[in-house]
């Protein structure tokens, strides 16, 4: 597929405070590059991410949303990431119904020690969203920046 290099997607990343946010910090400490398109929002746990937030991001013009949590079994709150996993699975079927590409939403497990993985995940996600092109389906045109 033709990749438009000028297209700079807006990507929202929700990172849980205990694992993924620390992993993101670690990739910074290790100076591992990933594109500036990714903007991180800190949440206490990946299970704090209401699927509404994801839809809101798409509505406001985000081209991709990624949710990062602790590895299964490692959740700081014991079981939060299991809830996230189920909720995102349900969200996927709704996105399918709406005709939004599944690949625009991704759930990843990144631990506090995996700075390199965090950077790799972000690089691959940005590439993938660039391939998909801008999000048009769910974008609220009234929200589009002029």
């Amino acid at each position: 597929m033709q990749v438009n290099n000028d297209f700079q997607p807006v990507i929202v990343a929700f990172c849980c405070n205990w694992c993924s946010y620390a992993g993101a910090d670690l990739s910074g400490t290790n100076r591992l590059n990933y594109p500036a398109n990714v903007k991180i929002i800190r949440v206490p746990c990946s299970c704090r991410v209401n699927p509404m937030f994801i839809l809101r991001a798409f509505q406001k013009g985000a081209d991709g949303v990624i949710i990062c949590g602790c590895h299964p079994g490692d959740c700081h709150y014991t079981s939060g990431n299991y809830y996230t996993r189920r909720r995102i699975t349900l969200l996927y079927s709704m996105l399918d119904f709406l005709g939004i590409e599944r690949n625009r939403t991704r759930l990843e497990w990144v631990s506090a020690a995996e700075g390199a993985k965090f950077a790799a995940v972000m690089n691959s996600f940005v590439d993938e969203v660039k391939k998909l092109g801008p999000n048009r389906r769910l974008e609220d045109l009234r929200c589009r920046k002029q």
């Binding site: 206490p44 406001k60 700081h76 709150y77 809830y83 631990s111 920046k145």
Partner: protein, 663 residues
């Protein structure tokens, strides 16, 4: 109307080199509600904090955004600064423009753009921040130490010294751990048992210390200051309170062919056993896998010879529940089994041993009574080859990626001890690097080479071939002379990598602490908080956090004790105010939140409400116990009516951040 102050930090050149901080401050000054926007060299410094404090006072700020390093670093610094001038600390937000912006982007324009957006998101969030007050919860004045090796013993002794009660939970029948198995310690060559066993006895006799040997932690509930732990006391089929440790049962037990774990399986023990002479507690344990009485009900000799009637074949696992204020993890390490490295022939040749096995072979209480003999034919070895870095410093598929740290030193110790006791034995050590950072360590290694004539060869062993005449052909490279060597050895000793104990992973899940990819516990900060885990109240001690030698382990154990004592002396601790709360008017009483809460913090109550038509109605509504809630937010998403919200990370705050980023 909100009055928000924005403070952009240069962090020297850490941020300023890739982010145009002046432009960020300028751009954010136009955001709604922002009344002051400044940049400064080091915002976290005393004068930087003064800048923030003065601005709060001068401009009567109702919210502060600091664009600086990660909130994990300095959020507390700025919150304290705000609190000191009367602004609620939870009205401070951090935009992370160092770890998540300047350090990862090279292009100044895009990094600056991103910093502005992150700043805008923080401003949008702080608009909706509400002042929060932290509650307090009491601290249970008792500590739990998981693991009874030298790390656990030292931590327990130090905590007990301060006058607090400590429980040690040890999964083996005796405390002592790996150090009890070691013969001599580097670099002083004093005997490990001579310095360890007095500490074990001290721990046993200390009135503040309770030792739960042959026990495991089976469940952990609660939070810092108030953990509830279930300890499983495994059935040892001997009444601990009656057994005097006389050892008569172990002499008379007819089942004498049980591999002796303490001697690394190099000799046998009986089915009822005391691991070693100085065991603490000195109480016998029956191994149910081998005891004939327990397996098929025939025998019972031990119960006949026991003069105090301590043998109890009907004993079962017991569970005890105890409350603790702090938990210290000291689960330690194990050497890996080198059997997957076929080239070293460990699984086919008994004369290829690991270093810990060699410790037992050389120990006076070991299988040969302290004389070094080959395990296969009990003859004296004349040529011994040591192989370093077996399973350490490997690619991920081949072994452990880290350096196990202690092997260089203990190999030098073994080589030295062998050369001293048996000067006719030639000792070869194949090394990749000799790593001896530590007090008197390099001197020690040099002594092995210069004074004891140990042959250190830069290179690696590629193949170990046992021959039919009992000798072992060792094929290796000598990189400095650029030769391939064949050494006719009698014994090969593998310096195997060390790995965290297998029980550590399920324990980390129970404690909700993080581990790295190698299953070592992750510390809260690699440099500045190396003995605490990121989970409050869980403290790390010894090799469970990373490879360590004995002095380092003891140092960390005492540091862990200091952290535990620091927690236990407090009567109460401040709770995290970022907890869930329910809007009772919106709650429809569906119980969804109650079901997802991992802490059981949500209960339902019947409450009376005034209805619009001046009548009262009783409705069932959720209420959150703020002392139990940990603030994960699972309930906020589960709530179908949107009644649940989380302080500090409310729905509207996160939506505002999303909007600011996408705009």
């Amino acid at each position: 109307m909100q009055r928000i102050g924005v403070f952009v930090c240069h962090c020297g050149t850490n941020i300023a080199a890739t982010v145009d901080v002046k432009a960020v401050a300028e751009a954010l000054s136009h955001e709604p509600g922002v009344v002051i926007s400044q940049d400064y060299q080091y915002m976290c410094s005393e004068s930087g904090q003064d800048l923030v404090k003065n601005a709060i006072k001068e401009h009567k700020l109702t919210g502060v955004v600091v664009c600086s390093c990660s909130p994990r670093m300095h959020e507390n610094t700025f919150r304290k600064a705000a609190a000191s001038v009367g602004l609620n600390p939870y009205l401070v937000e951090i935009a992370n423009i160092r770890e998540q912006c300047s350090w990862i982007h090279k292009d100044i324009a895009s990094a600056t753009d991103k910093a502005v957006i992150l700043g805008k998101a923080a401003v949008a969030k702080v608009h909706l921040n509400a002042p929060l007050t932290a509650g307090e919860s009491p601290v249970v004045k008792r500590a739990l130490v998981i693991g009874g090796g030298i790390a656990g013993i030292q931590t327990a002794l130090d905590i007990a010294e301060a006058g607090f009660d400590v429980d040690i939970v040890e999964k083996e029948p005796t405390i002592g751990g790996k150090m009890a198995q070691i013969d001599k310690t580097f670099p002083t060559l004093d005997c490990a048992a001579c310095i360890l066993t007095p500490k074990m006895v001290e721990a046993a006799q200390n009135e503040h210390i309770t030792i739960h040997s042959f026990s495991e932690v089976s469940d952990v509930k609660g939070f810092v200051g108030n953990f509830t732990v279930t300890i499983k006391k495994k059935a040892r089929y001997v009444d601990e309170t009656k057994c005097t440790g006389c050892g008569l049962c172990t002499e008379k037990c007819p089942m004498k062919k049980v591999p002796n774990e303490f001697n690394m399986g190099l000799d046998n023990r009986t089915a009822v056993y005391i691991p070693f002479a100085q065991a603490v507690p000195k109480v016998a344990t029956i191994d149910p896998n081998y005891c004939m009485m327990l397996k098929n009900g025939k025998c019972g000799i031990c119960s006949k010879v026991c003069s105090v009637g301590a043998i109890d074949y009907k004993q079962t696992d017991r569970f005890i529940e105890q409350k603790y204020g702090a938990i210290v993890v000291a689960t330690g390490f194990n050497p890996i089994k080198p059997d997957k490295y076929n080239e070293f022939a460990y699984s086919i040749c008994p004369d290829v041993v690991t270093s810990l096995e060699l410790e037992r072979l050389m120990n006076a209480a070991g299988p040969n009574g302290g004389t070094l003999l080959r395990p296969s034919d009990k003859t004296h070895p004349h040529t011994i080859v040591f192989v370093q870095c077996v399973g350490s410093r490997c690619d991920d598929e081949k072994g452990k990626p880290y350096c196990s740290k202690i092997c260089c030193m203990y190999t030098a110790k073994h080589a030295m001890l062998i050369r001293e006791k048996y000067p006719d034995t030639e000792v070869y050590v194949f090394y990749i690097d000799v790593r001896t950072p530590g007090k008197n360590f390099d001197e020690f290694y040099r002594r092995a080479v210069e004074q004891y004539g140990v042959h250190y060869i830069k290179g690696m062993v590629g193949k170990v071939m046992p021959r039919s005449d009992g000798k072992i052909d060792v094929q290796a490279s000598d990189l400095l002379s650029n030769e391939q060597l064949h050494i006719n050895a009698d014994m090969v000793v593998l310096a195997t990598a060390i790995e965290p104990d297998k029980t550590a992973r399920p324990l980390a899940t129970m404690l909700t602490t993080q581990m790295d990819t190698n299953d070592f516990f992750t510390e809260a900060h690699p440099k500045l908080r190396p003995v605490e885990s990121a989970t409050a109240g869980i403290i790390l001690s010894g090799a469970c956090q990373g490879p360590k030698d004995i002095p380092e382990t003891v140092a960390q154990a005492s540091a862990a004790a200091a952290k535990a004592i620091g927690l236990l002396v407090k009567n109460s601790i401040t709770c995290n105010p970022c907890v869930a709360h329910s809007d009772e008017l919106m709650c429809n009483g569906c119980s969804s939140c109650e079901k997802v809460c991992p802490y059981g913090a949500i209960t339902y109550q019947d409450k009376e409400f005034r209805m619009p038509d001046r009548t009262t109605a009783v409705r069932r509504v959720a209420s959150v116990n703020p002392a139990v809630c940990q603030g994960c937010g699972a309930c906020t998403v589960a709530c179908p009516s949107g009644a649940m919200d989380l302080n500090g990370f409310s729905n509207s705050q996160i939506m505002a951040e999303v909007d600011a980023i996408c705009k």
